[in-house]
């Protein structure tokens, strides 16, 4: 069983984040951390490997070289190795370009299962796996909160508003997991020590067969024209309930024609 986990290095949300007014891209110069949702995907991959009694957990990411420090945390949790698509030409890649490069890397690796975290905390995107799955021509299941493997098939259970879905697909498949799926482990001291010697392979876009016009800014189909401040909300009233709070709310709703 070979499991690839696609992870992303994101700016620490606890620190101030900003968009570069020049490039209109997220300023990634500060401390990077592993996207919290992806930590759940790494944990799930490790559990599946342990349950299967063997196999390989491979991390795949597209990021500048210094993301190696961030990848080391996932290696310390127990992942076996990392593949880092590191190329200046990849900067500014949107969904079209990113999904293309990731699919090329995954085609090379031929994993049985590809896992994603449900969302990226920097872009709030929740779309990448479905694009990658389409490029790989593989089935996909998203928002999975319970995952199991049996007889060459993956089964995912997810919560919906009024109940739940259980979806099954043959392997290989692409699955996005929600953060309700597990409680990620903390790396052990032994894990932290061994992570230093685990292989981290850096590959260029060319090495993966990504044509220059399909990467980065050139390969992207969306753009950001301008940045601005969010609009201020209108007048806000605050009242203390003196027993007539409910009446006042109704009067307010009536005035706005909401009841």
């Amino acid at each position: 069983m070979k499991i690839a986990v696609c992870v992303k290095q994101v700016p620490d949300a606890a620190a101030p984040r900003r968009l570069d007014p020049q490039t209109k891209r997220l300023d990634r110069s500060g401390e990077g951390v592993l996207n919290a949702f992806d930590v759940h995907a790494v944990e799930e991959a490790l559990r599946l490997k342990e349950a299967a009694g063997g196999g390989e957990v491979l991390l795949v990411t597209m990021a500048p070289e210094r993301a190696q420090d961030t990848l080391r945390k996932a290696l310390a949790m127990g992942a076996d190795r990392a593949l880092l698509i590191s190329d200046e030409a990849a900067a500014g890649s949107d969904l079209v370009a990113t999904s293309y490069a990731l699919a090329k890397a995954l085609e090379r690796e031929q994993p049985d299962l590809v896992l994603f975290g449900q969302q990226a905390s920097d872009s709030d995107g929740a779309v990448l796996w479905a694009a990658v799955a389409d490029r790989l021509r593989l089935p996909t299941i998203s928002q999975v909160a319970e995952l199991s493997l049996a007889e060459g098939r993956v089964r995912g259970k997810r919560q919906t508003e009024f109940g739940y879905d259980v979806i099954e697909a043959p392997l290989p498949a692409v699955v996005a997991v929600s953060d309700a799926i597990n409680e990620p482990r903390y790396p052990s001291l032994k894990g932290i020590m061994s992570a230093k010697s685990k292989p981290q392979e850096l590959v260029s876009l060319t090495a993966l067969g990504v044509e220059p016009d399909r990467a980065g800014d050139q390969g992207s189909r969306t753009e950001v024209y301008a940045l601005g401040d969010p609009p201020a909300r209108g007048d806000s009233q605050k009242i203390s309930d003196d027993g007539s709070g409910a009446e006042q709310i109704v009067a307010f709703l009536v005035e706005r024609r909401l009841v």
């Binding site: 189909r221 309930d241 709070g245």
Partner: protein, 301 residues
């Protein structure tokens, strides 16, 4: 969404209805501004799975030279739009709170970094794909009639590989939180899961849906699927009533685009009051039942 598209495209709008037993919806699409409705009615489109829908939409876009495809935000829509983006190498902008035509080009507005920045975004080529936050646009029923075209879907093998093996759906009278005009949401201030009935009753009286904060979902008081916020759903109803919700950033990003926000909280310093249209400092155990009664009385009277 249709009404907005009709306004943007000067009427040259088609609706695509994909599902099983959905033919009857076609007439409705016409009354909201669609000139043409493509209907793919196929048992293989019954389960809410994205990949067969990507096949149908990709064929429609290619055959009819569709320039822009709009989706209303949902988990299913995001998976479909992303798959379509890869299939057609088409740019996708998501989480839009506005869409307009400016100097002949389409411009979307996307809040970023926990809604602290608004980015004006666009597309470099056609087709353009966009996912719009639910509740962003007002429907306008113009009463037109659409020409209905039946589509025979052709599916890729891999698109039919994932199958729905079980679907548990508790019947609920109210709308889903993604479609609701009114959402009444509860947070930790309710004090316990049993008090969610106060929220449910008010939601029912207002004809709305129930939402929950991350804290109460994590505590197991209410299902994850109703979670509003950064790690849950982003909603923009006409009215959002926040009950016992402090309004931390994680929740704020999921609901601050609501047209009107009413907050009830006993802590006068709760951050939610900073972005509420009406804030009531008080005990929701007293206010909510009374409010529900008053709303009911008004609706029945």
């Amino acid at each position: 969404m249709l009404s907005k598209a009709a306004a943007l495209a000067d009427g040259a709008v088609a609706a695509a209805i994909l599902g099983s037993g959905v033919r009857d919806l076609a007439a409705r699409a016409g009354s909201f501004g669609a000139r043409r409705v493509f209907v793919a009615d196929d048992p293989r489109l019954e389960a809410p799975l994205p990949q067969p829908r990507v096949d149908v939409l990709a064929a429609l876009v290619r055959e009819h030279g569709v320039g822009t495809v709009l989706f209303g935000q949902s988990v299913l829509a995001a998976d479909i739009a992303a798959g379509l983006s890869a299939r057609l190498d088409a740019g996708l902008n998501w989480d839009l709170t506005d869409l307009r035509s400016e100097d002949g080009r389409l411009v979307g507005r996307r809040p970023a970094l926990a809604d602290s920045v608004y980015a004006e975004v666009g597309w470099r080529s056609e087709p353009r794909l966009a996912i719009v936050r639910s509740g962003t646009f007002e429907p306008s029923e113009t009463g037109g009639e659409a020409e209905v075209t039946e589509v025979t879907p052709q599916f890729e093998d891999f698109s039919l590989a994932a199958t729905m093996v079980e679907q548990a759906h508790e019947e609920s009278g109210g709308p889903s939180i993604e479609d609701a005009d009114v959402i009444v949401a509860g947070g930790r201030g309710l004090g316990g899961p049993e008090n969610f009935t106060l929220v449910e009753e008010l939601a029912k009286a207002l004809g709305g849906a129930v939402g929950a904060t991350r804290a109460v979902v994590d505590a197991g008081w209410y299902p994850y699927a109703t979670q509003v916020g950064q790690t849950g759903k982003t909603v923009a109803p006409k009215l959002y009533v926040a009950c016992g919700i402090s309004g931390a950033i994680q929740h704020k990003v999921g609901m601050q685009s609501s047209s009107v926000i009413v907050a009830i909280n006993k802590d006068p310093n709760a951050p939610i009051f900073e972005y509420s249209d009406l804030g009531v400092v008080g005990d929701l155990h007293e206010i909510l039942p009374k409010l529900t009664e008053l709303v009911r009385a008004r609706k029945s009277g």
